[in-house]
């Protein structure tokens, strides 16, 4: 079970992070935790893919900015790189790999540290923020991370140091989407719906009508839809269409009521 191709998943995540909506909003990070099975057959959520961006000017409070300056300092940077290298080695990376060496170059920002460290996490059933979310099948929306008493996940401290104030966890049938923002965002059902739709596995295509003999291309069937490789071109189960819907919903992040576009229309 995958969310389409890998590129498709990455595009969706990048989109959430890099493409501001009509209110000029975009998330600071987006992670997809993919459901999988461990060798013993247990369900486990592990890294699917992720995307992040640095906070723009004005996105972080003055205090957070000053605190982060301390982490730019040499010894702290060395510590971060060492941790990343150890994680890389521990989880199967080889020393002479380009990845390992590249991590040593340049500095590692708070946001980057959060994302890179997250790659090594996995959550057994019901454990950790994403694990609990998947298990309960209920979305989680935390608008005030800094002041919240408990940690949404063991990685919370990394998220906080990156200035993240809002964390959203959206369960789907194939994993959990985790989103974060440096702004305090109010709960939005609309956002939750569109995200859930975008990252769920597509509904099964409607069964082709039984007919004899084999259908020739361009032959008009009773549905008047043209087919390519056996799939309806205009089927709402196509990812392209889903992506379009997603964009439309994101445009309405702040206000409007969602009309019932969730039900796939049959043509």
């Amino acid at each position: 079970m995958t969310v389409g191709s890998d590129d498709n998943l990455q595009n969706k995540l990048s989109d959430l992070v890099e493409t501001p909506n009509s209110s000029n909003f975009s998330w600071n990070y987006a992670i997809f935790w993919q459901v999988s099975r461990s060798k013993s057959g247990d369900l486990v959520l592990c890294w699917g893919d992720g995307s992040c961006r640095e906070p723009k000017d004005g996105e972080r409070s003055e205090m957070m900015r000053m605190l982060s300056m301390g982490r730019e300092e040499e010894t702290h940077q060395t510590l971060r790189k060492r941790v990343l290298q150890k994680l890389h080695a521990l989880f199967g990376g080889l020393d002479d790999e380009e990845d390992s060496c590249a991590l040593v170059l340049d500095r590692v920002t708070d946001t980057e540290m959060f994302l890179l460290a997250s790659m090594y996490f996995s959550f057994p059933r019901g454990q950790g923020g994403p694990g609990k979310c998947f298990h309960s099948a209920q979305p989680v929306w935390l608008s005030d991370l800094v002041n919240s008493g408990s940690d949404y996940c063991v990685r919370s401290f990394l998220a906080k140091s990156a200035g993240i104030q809002t964390v959203v966890l959206v369960p789907t049938d194939i994993g959990v989407v985790e989103l974060g923002s440096t702004s305090c965002l109010p709960h939005s059902d609309e956002s939750l719906s569109s995200i859930s739709l975008s990252f769920s596995s597509p509904p099964p295509p409607p069964p082709p009508p039984v007919r004899l003999p084999v259908v020739v291309a361009n032959h008009n069937d009773d549905n008047s839809s043209s087919k390519i490789f056996g799939k309806d071109l205009h089927s709402s189960s196509g990812f392209h269409h889903q992506h379009q819907q997603h964009r439309q919903f994101r445009e309405k992040l702040t206000v409007r009521k969602m009309d019932d576009n969730r039900v796939p229309k049959r043509l």
Binding site: D6, S36, K39, C46, W47, K86, F91, D95, D99, S122
Partner: protein, 198 residues
């Protein structure tokens, strides 16, 4: 689950089997030494029930030089050890300030998604691996029969590469590669000269 309080600490910055003297080394060199010994550590890895290791170690301790037993070895049942879980053992490791027992190496064991590090003599390590071979379920034939002659990196990639987390380290590697690619592009666009340091 009553195991939430017992944790395993990974030996990230600590034990080095070649630490013969206590003279402070320059920080960076220490990093290199540790990386080398870390790699050597991985020469004795297997997925076996730490309970078996415990009993092996216990039997070994009874036999000989038990007075020099490393503090990081999980103690035998007769000791005053707080609840011993029935499935994967989580062993709180002593801090690196403790003296290392000479002639022992750290042995890392991965079992059912958990990690434990034990301090064992090379002979003991071999013995444990032999037992692992015997207790490994039939279907797991993919593990090499003679682990002792396999170079550490090959063994590591064989064991680590497979599911510690369900067969998807590939996703992580791809993400990492993409991340670094993006980063390179960003660096080149903002600073055409190769950055020397942070």
């Amino acid at each position: 689950q009553n195991m939430s309080k017992v944790t395993t600490e990974l030996d990230f910055f600590g034990l080095d089997k070649n630490q013969t003297n206590n003279a402070p080394k320059p920080k960076f060199k220490k990093t290199l030494d540790r990386r080398r010994s870390f790699r050597e550590m991985q020469g004795a890895i297997s997925k076996i029930d730490p309970e078996i290791i415990k009993s092996l170690l216990a039997s070994g301790a009874n036999r000989s030089e038990s007075s020099t037993r490393s503090p990081s070895v999980p103690s035998t049942p007769k000791e005053d050890h707080p609840q011993i879980p029935s499935s994967p053992v989580h062993v709180p490791l002593s801090r690196p300030s403790m003296e290392l027992v000479s002639g022992t190496v750290p042995m890392t064991i991965f079992y059912n998604g958990t990690v434990s590090v034990f301090q064992v003599s090379p002979n003991k390590a071999e013995g444990i691996l032999k037992v692992a071979m015997q207790t490994t379920p039939e279907k797991d034939k993919s593990v090499e029969k003679d682990l002792s002659v396999i170079p550490p990196t090959t063994l590591r990639s064989k064991l680590f590469g497979k599911n510690l987390e369900g067969d998807l380290p590939i996703a992580r590697r791809k993400s990492l590669q993409r991340f670094l690619e993006k980063r390179k592009e960003r660096l080149v666009s903002t600073c055409p000269y190769f950055p020397t340091s942070a």
